[in-house]
Amino acid sequence: MTTAGLHRPVPGSVPPPAAGTRRDRAAAGWRLARLYLVSRRVPTALALLAGLGALLWASLHWHWNIAGGAAARQFIPLTIQTGAAAVIAVTTYGPFGEPERAAGRWLPWLRLGAAVALTAVAFGALAAGAAAGGMPGGTLSLLRNLGGMAGIGLLAAAVLGGAFGWTGPMAYLLITEGALAHGSATPWVWPARPPHDRGGAICACLVLAAGLVVITVRGPRESGRESGPAS
């Protein structure tokens, strides 16, 4: 073995990227993302979302309805959508706290990517469940409701901690229930609005955007850094 094949770089020039560096960085990035997803229990979340899709399919197939009018008929699908939003919110909970914040340069992007990806997966799972037919409001309503409630869950995670992010969608579900029962018309209760209602869609998008921004920039409340229920 000789050194005849080696080339010395010209003094002062930027060394060209080594052939293996990009691969290594990609591998490191993939490993980082995988570890992040595992630390957030995303595999369990995916299983739960698939289960919720199956539950939605069963509820539509066997006509599990609350007695009442058209508003009452969307109550169980809405509960399942809220459950999916709660699962997304709970995945934001991180067990590492300050060390992860200090060392994780990519943490905000990982939080954003995970939230967006899980929302998309949840929509896919529930849309597949809605294939049983009879989904009140159709796919458009599902997208609006799920997106808006995922935003509420992310905001709740920022306020109460990721472990208690589920309380936001649950509280919103109870408010929606009251609105459905008493015929409220505010667009902020978007599940009570028609599927093509622009006001409801705008409000849901605003809440989702706010949730994504807050969870990306600030992250969920952490028990070690701030006092909270998840201690």
């Binding site: 009442g68 509960t79 709660a86 709970v90 109870l174 229930e177």
Partner: protein
């Protein structure tokens, strides 16, 4: 001196068992301080105000109506229970999530005892919060002058339901130490309540009466006003919910790490006892039958519960006739007097004219709405008996499109009076009775054209749309109404007996 007396005095060492309550109290205090429930209480309080209290203010100020939504249909439980289940699951999964299960298993206390302390702290926070929220709501009702007595038995049901939610959620967390245990427990609890509502709405008897959101046969007028709230069904529900709570807690003591063999056997017995209690409660509920005062379960019924509530009536006068109401209805006394005055003045001096008018209790009926004749006339001397609990009183009306107007209420009272006076009973009466009734209503200020609609709105359930005020009945009524008052009075005095017997035909009217 003997060897026995020379022996040194042996002081008994303090028994270890005497320290157990103190240690348990310390453990409980620590768990109370470290519990997650207080962090969620502000959110629950806001939801309680929004979903339980706020809708109730749209009903008439009577406890039976104010609490129909939040107690009868279980919304105080729906607002609190799922959150409690979620937080309890979080607390129950604590040791497992943090990988401390082996560590705490090796401590002096059995793991089950430590888990029960954690659950007890969660349940204490939850039940205390429930009682405080309901107490504040009832205090505010009392401040607003809401009539009747609060449904205390149903408050006990709610507190037991919250306990059951905490126990079930805790068991979920203990068996599945995951971050997802909390939302799964909460949403499973909420879905269970939703399905309970679905079943409860359609079942007016049988096992489904045990469901905590089933209001059928529970919250009708005049519970807590003329007669006490019957405790039969609440007691059965408390048995059911307590059984669920005990069974769930027993389940947490079954795994090998929970404690020694004796403790685990005790946990198995506790679990079975809980299941048995719940099963017995379901069996008791299926024997319930509807009485005039609510659901009666023969095995639980105490005859003392049937004793009417004593009260001093609130009285006034309408056209010189004394009118007395239950004090819970005192605020509507002027409305009732104003409604009765024109019709009483019309028939003054006629045979069978009421010497007084008094309110009587409304009887329970199958379903959620009252049925039967609202006003009856009978006795010697004749007494007008008004079952006002079957009517929507003037003011806010929770299940109406808009508040009930005083005139709307007065027209219903006048119609009920006219039907009772002509002897039409609960039906529409003979054509002759219908004609005289229409003339009396016309004299009391209700035009003929408005009468078909009035009669249609007082019938329970959907029916054919009201028709025009035409035909032979209204023709005869118009003839009678055009007579001078003195002549009409004299004719009525002469023909009232035949009219009430249903023998008077339209041709015999003047």
């Amino acid at each position: 001196m003997t060897a026995a007396t020379a022996a040194p005095v042996r002081h008994r060492t303090p028994r270890a068992t005497s320290a157990i309550p103190l240690t348990a109290a310390r453990l409980l205090r620590t768990e109370l301080r470290r519990n997650a429930m207080p962090w969620i209480l502000p959110l629950i309080a806001a939801l309680f105000w929004f979903d339980s209290y706020r809708p109730s203010t749209r009903t008439a100020p009577l406890y039976v109506l104010r609490t129909f939504w939040n107690m009868g249909q279980g919304h105080t439980i729906i607002d609190i229970g799922p959150f409690v289940a979620g937080v309890a699951a979080w607390m129950g999964s604590r040791d497992g999530r943090r990988g401390l299960a082996d560590l705490v298993t090796a401590t002096a206390r059995p793991r089950w005892a430590a888990q029960l302390a954690t659950w007890a702290a969660t349940a204490i926070w939850a039940v205390a919060a429930y009682l405080v929220f309901v107490g504040v709501m009832f205090a505010w009702y009392a401040h607003q002058g809401v009539g009747g007595t609060p449904p205390w038995w149903w408050v006990a049901v709610g507190a037991t339901a919250v306990t059951a939610f905490s126990a079930a959620g805790f068991a979920v967390g203990a068996y599945w130490p995951s971050r997802f245990a909390a939302p799964v427990a909460a949403f499973a609890g909420f879905l269970a309540m939703a399905m309970s509502s679905q079943t409860g709405f359609s079942h007016i008897s049988g096992w489904a009466l045990i469901l905590p959101t089933n209001s059928n046969g529970n919250f009708q007028a005049d519970s807590g006003i003329f007669y006490p709230w019957l405790p039969d069904l609440p007691v059965a529900r408390i048995m059911f919910l307590a059984g669920i709570a005990v069974a769930a807690l027993g389940l947490t003591g079954l795994p090998a790490r929970a404690g020694g063999p004796w403790l685990r056997r005790a946990a198995a017995v506790v679990t079975l006892a809980g299941v048995a209690s719940a099963a017995i409660a379901v069996g008791l509920a299926s024997t319930a039958r509807l009485s005039a005062h609510g659901m009666v379960i023969p095995a639980l019924h105490d005859a003392a519960s049937d004793a009417p509530v004593t009260y001093t009536p609130a009285c006034g006068r309408a056209a010189g006739v004394p009118v007395c109401l239950n004090p819970a209805y005192r605020r509507w006394l002027p409305d009732v007097n104003g409604a009765l005055a024109p019709v009483l003045a019309e028939v003054a001096g006629l045979p069978g004219t009421p010497a007084r008018a008094t309110q009587v209790a409304a009887a329970y009926s199958s379903g959620e709405v009252g049925a039967g004749q609202v006003i009856t006339l009978g006795g010697h001397p004749p007494v007008l008996r008004m079952s006002l609990g079957q009517l929507d009183m003037p003011g806010p009306c929770g299940f109406c499109d808009e508040p009930v107007a005083t005139k709307q209420f007065a027209d219903q009272i006048r119609l009920g009076f006219a039907q009772a006076f002509v002897g039409a009973g609960n039906g529409s009466g003979s054509p002759g009775q219908q004609a005289v009734q229409a003339a009396l209503l016309r004299g009391a200020g209700i035009p003929f054209a408005a009468q078909p609609k009035l009669m249609a709105t007082t019938k329970n359930g959907p029916g054919p749309p009201p028709g025009p005020a035409t035909g032979p009945v209204y023709a005869a009524a118009r003839r009678l109404a055009t007579l001078p008052a003195a002549a009409r009075h004299a004719w009525l005095a002469a023909h009232l007996a035949a009219l009430r017997a249903g023998r008077l035909t339209l041709k015999e009217l003047p």
